[in-house]
């Protein structure tokens, strides 16, 4: 099976005029054995809508989400559904969630949402659930089993006993580098739910897990971390093809642990430096990842964007649509058994371009 990642090949092999009218500048087309099973979905994440006062919100983050929605709506053929990857709000207030939901409502197509810590820690997801439904769930689509986890929970004590007010609790969790924060986790209850949910799934059914936290242990200081990552991974181990797609990190990351491919999605709001650029940190950044370039803060959309996810015979490829930068494609390469950025993999990167 070969992977052809180019729009040109899409046009060539598509055949009909109708397919040519596609506006798939970030679509990737894969040559594969059973064309009928292929599908795509869009992934928008980490909007961080931030309320200033009254009807004023931080313009920069608003525009990021607006652009992602507008561009997603231009995709043709239409993606099967759209995921929102968490952190719609910045401080989990009603005003922010409402403002964000209003912008998401302009999406054409079905929307599924993932919980993020910035949505959760004010009212423990109560208002979010009113808007978007359950905080963890699963669904099946075209032969793939999708699981949505709420992976930004933390120790009960920290959540319930540590802080005088919900707002304070939210503020403490909101600071990425805040030493008063607490590590993310899926937690016993939800892991048990996951175990039961997966019981009904065949081992050769592709599984895609959506999570806000990485379900890996990358850098604890910034909560690029899931405390029970190994246990969650163990539950996923029996399956042939597992893909974890996570948000939270605001940068392109990818990794392979055993049978599980990990792909992060970008934020529409702002990019984050890579952990290796914090001089005092010890971290475990996946060696596979070729990092994004350092952003230019003048261009507020630099190093932000959204992504199209292509599911091809059970493996995912992400076409990252960066508004101000060269778009990137990271996809599973069966020849080497892990995600790869084919274009950049063979290019010697100038050291200045990356975060340092």
């Amino acid at each position: 099976m070969s992977n052809n990642y180019s729009r040109r090949s899409f046009l060539r092999t598509a055949g009909s005029v109708a397919a040519v009218s596609a506006l798939p500048v970030t679509m990737i087309e894969l040559a594969f054995a059973k064309p009928a099973e292929n599908f795509t979905f869009a992934y928008i994440s980490d909007a961080h809508i931030q309320h200033i006062r009254g009807t004023k919100f931080v313009n920069n983050w608003d525009r990021g989400l607006i652009r992602a929605v507008a561009e997603t709506n231009l995709m043709m053929p239409r993606p099967d559904f759209v995921m929102f990857g968490g952190d719609l709000a910045q401080l989990g207030t009603r005003a922010e969630l409402d403002h964000g939901a209003e912008m998401l409502a302009r999406l054409n197509g079905k929307l599924y949402c993932v919980m993020g810590e910035h949505d959760y820690y004010d009212d423990l997801g109560e208002y979010w659930s009113k808007l978007f439904g359950p905080q963890h769930y699963s669904f099946d689509h075209k032969g793939v089993h999708f699981v949505v986890l709420n992976s930004i929970l933390t120790f009960d004590d920290w959540t319930h006993n540590r802080w005088p007010t919900p707002q304070q609790r939210m503020l403490e969790m909101a600071g990425l580098d805040n030493p008063n924060g607490s590590p993310f986790m899926v937690g016993d209850k939800q892991r048990e739910w996951l175990r039961k949910d997966l019981e009904k799934v065949e081992k050769d059914t592709p599984v895609v897990v959506f999570s806000h936290s990485p379900l890996q242990k990358i850098y604890k200081g910034w909560n690029f971390w899931t405390d029970d990552a190994e246990q969650v991974q163990a539950l996923l181990a029996p399956f042939d093809k597992v893909n974890v797609i996570y948000g939270h990190v605001h940068q392109i990351q990818y990794n392979q642990i055993g049978n599980i491919s990990f792909n992060s999605v970008m934020a529409t709001a702002w990019p984050w430096p890579y952990p290796q650029s914090y001089a005092q940190a010890e971290q475990f950044m996946p060696k596979l990842t070729i990092p994004m370039n350092r952003a230019d803060p003048f261009f507020e959309r630099d190093a932000t964007g959204w992504q199209m996810v292509d599911v091809n015979t059970g493996r995912v490829g992400l076409a990252y649509n960066l508004y101000n930068n060269k778009s990137r494609t990271v996809a599973f390469d069966p020849k080497v058994g892990h995600p790869v950025d084919k274009e950049l993999q063979s290019v010697a990167l100038e050291p200045n371009r990356t975060h340092y």
Binding site: G221, S277, Y278, A279, Q280, D296, P297, F298, E300
Partner: protein
């Protein structure tokens, strides 16, 4: 982690006994206590810088430095002065900090030699300690 480092630096100063005869009249000499006291004063300024780094009142829209620069990462204090394309010329770190206060934070720039600016610079540089100087590096 960083808070404990700052706290223990302060504690070390407080715990030191005053030694008689430890003062000196020579201009080029200073005592261990002096050095530690000054270091502690520096760390207080670093601490103030950290507070400003996470203070929504620094700008006018509630955005804080730490949102894009957790632990001052990606601020590269060791590369200044350098050509800063957003300002069109070679500038120092305080000028770039002011650019950030003006732009993403939509705020009013600080006086370059104000205590607040000094604190911000102290914090960012402290988080970057140990990294070699590379002035001009883009």
């Amino acid at each position: 982690m960083k808070r404990t480092i700052i706290r223990s630096a302060l504690a070390a100063v407080v715990a030191l006994p005053l030694a008689i005869g430890a003062t000196t009249s020579r201009a080029d000499e200073f005592t261990k206590q002096d050095a530690e006291r000054w270091q502690a004063q520096f760390m207080q300024v670093v601490q103030k810088g950290r507070e400003l780094w996470t203070d929504p009142k620094l700008g006018k829209n509630g955005v804080v430095c730490a949102q894009c620069h957790p632990n001052a990462a990606n601020s590269h204090p060791e590369t200044y002065p350098k050509f800063q394309k957003q300002i069109g010329k070679v500038v120092t770190l305080p000028e770039m900090i002011n650019w950030c206060i003006r732009n993403p934070l939509e705020g009013v720039p600080l006086e370059v030699d104000s205590p607040e600016m000094t604190a911000l610079v102290a914090y960012a540089t402290y988080e970057r300690r140990g990294v070699k100087l590379e002035p001009g590096k883009h």
